[in-house]
Symmetry: C2
Subunit: 386 residues, 2 copies
């Protein structure tokens, strides 16, 4: 179950012919209400794709009737013509659904710099509208239609005991990083909640979930996370309760993104403890997570903690090398300014690796999720556009 | 010719048994004067190896009689005992040469976290002292003894028409980055120059050479560049002339480091033009140079300029996407906010790739040198310590 889990939503995912072959490449998520509250967070990259510029604008009203998403083309770096393509896409969805274009968000993912094949996309919107359904299969179809180099769809759904729920899907495999760490995600809820509360809850949830996944330091031109609230459960929720469940659903999706990142052979959790501030903890975790020498060592199942020490030493953060402690998979390898247990005692041969850095300087912690740097990552990314 | 090119210097490189097998692993460079001016620049990493802490201290006097260097062990993260090992190494060299220990700099490179095998190193100093010579072979032996995963020694030598010269060697293959972009380099000159001028010249030269090579974003715990002046030519030089020739020698060495970086199949020059400030130009160049998606695309000979746009968009610098221009190997692929010539027109199949980003915002430029991200890089770095 994903976006169609909560009441009040229909979805569809169809093959419009944007991608070669007959793969699903166009998704539609429709909020049938009774409410249409919405919020979104977007890439911080200065080079923003046309659909990001469009969706940021329409989200100012905190109202969305529908989201249309395509894979196979990012519609980024495409100039005014690319923006017109996004606008025309929203107009088409609006016309088919009988709503206003400013109530339609647009998301695109795929190769940067190419124009959208509008002659395939616009008829695809009709096909998608006819396929709209509220069942589990429809949600899965939508989650599938947004995939690029992902190997499987990522869906999540959780119910609150008070009778409301949050669902969602996400896609993202490479170019995952600060801030946000996904390319696209759509979340839905049948809770009764205002647009402003939805916005605050989304920012709080993504800050500790999507923003803390960092596969390769890249930040996409298209990163978008949207949340839509239908109010169909009739249950009014507190912002705190909603933020809790939303964060939990986002965590589920982020773990799936981490596990399906490009070329992943190992997932790595970088846990930073005892930092002087949360900003320090995040900065240190991110630098370790992005360090190619750390990532290749882990690919080789090698607890080469010297590279972890090297990586954290170049962060602009408070560090005392004599208090610092580094452990991998539960074995402390560095402590009190020198080598602790021998690296041969730390077994990194499994798929899950945990790096724990304790600075012993304060109370702040952060966990950054990443993956190893493998031959498969190099292979996928050296051949992606050709 | 390298460190023994300028008059007044002797060098040696011997196999002391620090590395397995009978590879050269200990180098000595001696300044026979008449002057012993010296200067050094060191890693900005907060985790500094013992030899860096030692050499920074002795360089405060701007005087060096000798430099002793070893490969096979970085002597980093080794606590007070590691510092004592460095101190003992300097004492041993001082004793053998009949100078003070505070006139002896120490450099180490290799695996982080392991103690130096002093029972091999100390007798090695005797062997090296006996092997000291002023000829070309001695310089080559020293340049060879500092190598780790480098495939060949890097040496440079240039003469000024006024009768003085600058020589040097460098080693470095991975973990190259800001600031400095090498692990170790020793430069020599027979010019007559004060320690203070030498220091200023070295900072000016490394800022635009070693500091602009960025292979993988790493910054070593051991990065050191030293320059020693013997005054043996008897020619007094101006700071400007000296900085000029020193920069030229450093450029030569940096190009060799770039060409021999770990796993390199292509060298990439990232040229940033038209930036609002030099800091912006450097930051943009560095971010592109460190971006794994750009580096893997180039490995695949793929002019995927969208990834270049993505990378520069995440820099905290002044950028106007509508003025931005991106070219690879002379073909403009993005201009005026949209796609220009087709990517198929840009041929990246050769070993040398140039990425030119023109921001059209100001007069500032910077060139960052990097390499592609290949299977060989992953292979070498996933197996280095094991």
């Amino acid at each position: 179950m994903s976006v169609t889990g909560p009441a009040g939503f229909r979805a569809a995912g169809v093959a419009a012919g944007i991608k070669a072959g007959s793969k699903r490449d166009l998704a539609l998520v429709v909020n049938d209400g009774p409410q249409q509250a919405a919020a979104g967070v977007f890439t911080t990259n200065k080079v923003k794709a046309a659909p990001v510029l469009w969706s940021q604008q329409v989200l100012k009203e905190r109202t969305l009737h529908a989201v249309v998403l395509n894979s196979g083309c990012a519609n980024a770096c495409t100039g005014p013509e690319g923006f017109q393509d996004t606008h025309a896409t929203a107009e088409k969805v609006a016309e088919v659904l009988g709503v206003g274009a400013i109530e339609v968000a647009v998301c695109s993912t795929g190769l940067i710099g190419e124009r959208l094949p509008m002659d395939a996309l616009l008829p695809g919107v009709d096909t998608a509208a006819r396929a709209l359904a509220a069942d589990e299969q429809a949600g899965l179809d939508a989650a599938t239609a947004v995939l690029t180099t992902d190997t499987k769809p990522k869906q999540a759904f959780q119910e609150h005991e008070a009778g409301w729920s949050v669902g969602g899907f996400a896609k993202g495999a490479g170019m995952l990083a600060p801030n946000l760490a996904t390319m696209l995600s759509v979340l839905t809820t049948d809770a009764v909640i205002s647009g402003d509360d939805l916005d605050e809850a989304l920012r709080a949830a993504t800050r500790v979930t999507f923003d803390r996944l960092d596969v390769d330091g890249g930040t996409s031109t298209n990163d978008t996370v949207l949340v839509l609230a239908s109010g169909a459960s009739g249950v009014e929720v507190s912002k705190e309760d909603f933020t809790g469940l939303l964060t939990s659903v986002c965590t589920d999706l982020v773990r799936q993104l981490q596990g399906d990142a490009e070329g992943v052979t190992k997932t790595i959790d970088v846990v930073v403890r005892g930092a002087a501030s949360e900003a320090d903890a995040v900065a240190i975790g991110r630098t370790i997570a992005e360090d190619n020498l750390v990532k290749t060592a882990i690919f080789g199942s090698d607890p080469n903690w010297g590279r972890i020490a090297m990586a954290l030493g170049r962060v602009d953060a408070e560090i005392d090398v004599d208090k610092l402690e580094i452990a991998t998979n539960g074995v402390t390898l560095y402590a009190a300014g020198t080598k602790a247990r021998d690296r041969s005692e730390a077994d990194l041969s499994g798929r899950e690796v945990e790096i724990v850095v304790d600075l012993h300087l304060g109370e702040h912690t952060a966990t950054i999720l990443t993956t190893d740097l493998s031959h498969a990552y190099v292979e996928e990314n050296s051949a992606y556009s050709s």
